[in-house]
Symmetry: C2
Subunit: 339 residues, 2 copies
């Protein structure tokens, strides 16, 4: 079985965005009744999924995708908490409908209603709702709700501890994933996402979070940002900071996905990072669409790169299935392992 | 001949830091006469260099280092322009003395007196002084003088154009290099530096700076941040943004150094980036000090990794010498090529 742990609903029907536009218009203009989430039919959802995400998953032989709302549209920089809650609920409910319509194909991961400077109460409430009521298996946690101004506390700060307590209690991991960039210095897909991945990892190296949460699991997407390419730098910095080796200090709890869109990058990832820390993912219909003219294949067809690394069957099984089941154990109820 | 294009005077005598401390104390307290730069003897400078930087260069068979003031100490976040000018002059004058004492071993690259929100006038003035009076061959340009708050304009903005005009006129490149982080989210060495490299590259992909400055040369240090590991992502994003292929669009003007502290990273760099765009560097006595227990060699002994890539003599000559002479042509006056 092949599980892709990182996909977003980037193809949601237009009415969903119209709801968001109405929300934002309400915030900008005179007070009006809060808009209602869009009425979207099952057929509209089916079509939005079957023609894109599911078509590609089938073509590529991927069985199941952990599916969350569009990351760049989470827009945690909008400061109104009630708006954030309503938007997250609408996004997560839509993902839930996808998982109900295609129960063998998609498992849910939720967006959290974070705001810049806000508390985590709403985010924890929505996490609990999604996991306990909607059957979601994970969430996306934004280390920078400001959208590129980086005004939040580092992930190792006690500010975040109530979230980690909930994650541990619910036995779900968080993928560390920022949203749109409001800072013109940072292109969202080409800088902000990767910077956040790199930043989060180094915060974990500096701190000692997993001493307090030994069972907490964090997924750093986009192949771990700059980290594997600079693996020697991080090993050396851990040493310079008096931290234990990375394997003991962070790599029992941190996982990188395979959203790296060329063969050389995936080869490097496997060369330096233990296979137990690598989760297969494509983020398909995500950042990089279209076909690489050098290979004739889609940039985000990451299964091709993984298959070409030259791994043995055991390492492939870990990458494609077993690691995901370990990191996202709630998957086992949704998609029992084939004996 | 082997030229290391990225070294900082991280071992400057303590009196130099005492001058800086007096500067900052003057800013914090009641107005006092501005302090004078430290009196440092030639012997003190010799000792600070011979026991560390030069010792390692000799041991590793490196002939010449392009040497600039300590990057993390540039501290462009301190907003007072006069303080920035005095500090930059003192730092650059000290580097100049190193180049005078060891003229065959070190060539200067200057720190620029940038400030958050300030003009570039002082920076351009100091660049001119260092190149025309002190014989410097390059400079370090900080895309984020705020130190991790990223309040400046992107590098493609016309704000920066007077600097680029001066660089082109003087025929020197700029290394894009941030300084200390004032944002607790970003560890300077483990996040801020690499994020800045990644960010700068993506700004150049988004924009079209080299249409306006076809002979401008920018060095992105630390192996290009996250970029080579995500080379497919950048190729795909350039395509998605309607930009020409990276080779035409940015790689005639952008160069990565080899400050990547493990073999797998250096191997990847050469696998995806044309050898003409790679400059040998170690940043020795920089971010990552000490010995890698896995190899028994210094993390920052990057020559070892480059030698192990399996390059032919032509590619090695480009990496070690010829590219540096092309990017930093003023080197040719200082260190004539051996016929």
């Amino acid at each position: 079985m092949i599980i892709d742990c990182h996909g977003h609903y980037t193809t949601a029907p237009a009415a969903h965005q119209a709801f968001r536009d109405a929300q934002l218009a309400g915030l900008a203009g005179p007070r009006r009744p809060a808009p209602e989430p869009a009425r979207i039919s099952d057929d509209e959802i089916r079509e939005s999924i079957e023609t894109t995400q599911l078509k590609l998953l089938r073509e590529r032989g991927v069985d199941l995708m952990i599916f969350s709302p569009q990351a760049s549209a989470m827009a945690h920089h909008v400061p109104d908490p009630a708006t954030a809650v309503a938007w997250s609920r609408a996004c997560n409910d839509l993902v839930h409908r996808v998982t109900e319509l295609f129960p063998r194909r998609f498992a849910g991961a939720c967006q959290l209603p974070q705001t810049p400077g806000g508390t985590l109460d709403d985010a924890i409430g929505e996490l609990r709702r999604c996991v306990t009521q909607l059957g979601f298996v994970g969430c996306n946690l934004n280390p920078d709700p400001s959208g590129g101004h980086w005004t939040a506390k580092p992930l190792t700060d006690r500010f975040w501890y109530p979230m980690y307590e909930a994650l541990v209690e619910l036995d779900v991991p968080a993928m560390i994933h920022v949203s749109a960039s409001c800072n013109p210095n940072f292109h969202a897909l080409g800088a902000h996402y990767l910077n956040a991945d790199t930043t989060a990892f180094m915060q974990l190296v500096q701190g000692d979070l997993f001493a307090d949460f030994p069972t907490l699991r964090l997924v750093i997407p986009h192949g771990g940002g700059a980290v594997p390419y600079h693996w020697g730098r991080y090993r050396g910095l851990a040493d310079r900071l008096g931290r234990p080796p990375l394997g003991e200090h962070v790599m029992r709890n941190v996982f990188f996905d395979t959203c790296v869109y060329h063969q050389a990058g995936i080869d490097l990832l496997y060369r330096v990072v233990d296979v137990d820390n690598i989760l297969f993912a494509s983020e398909l219909h995500g950042a990089v669409r279209g076909v690489d003219p050098e290979t004739g294949h889609h940039w985000d067809d990451t299964k091709r790169y993984v298959d070409n690394v030259g791994l043995g069957p055991e390492a492939l099984a870990r990458t494609y299935e077993l690691n995901a089941r370990r990191v996202y154990p709630r998957l086992n109820a949704i998609a029992p392992a084939v004996p």
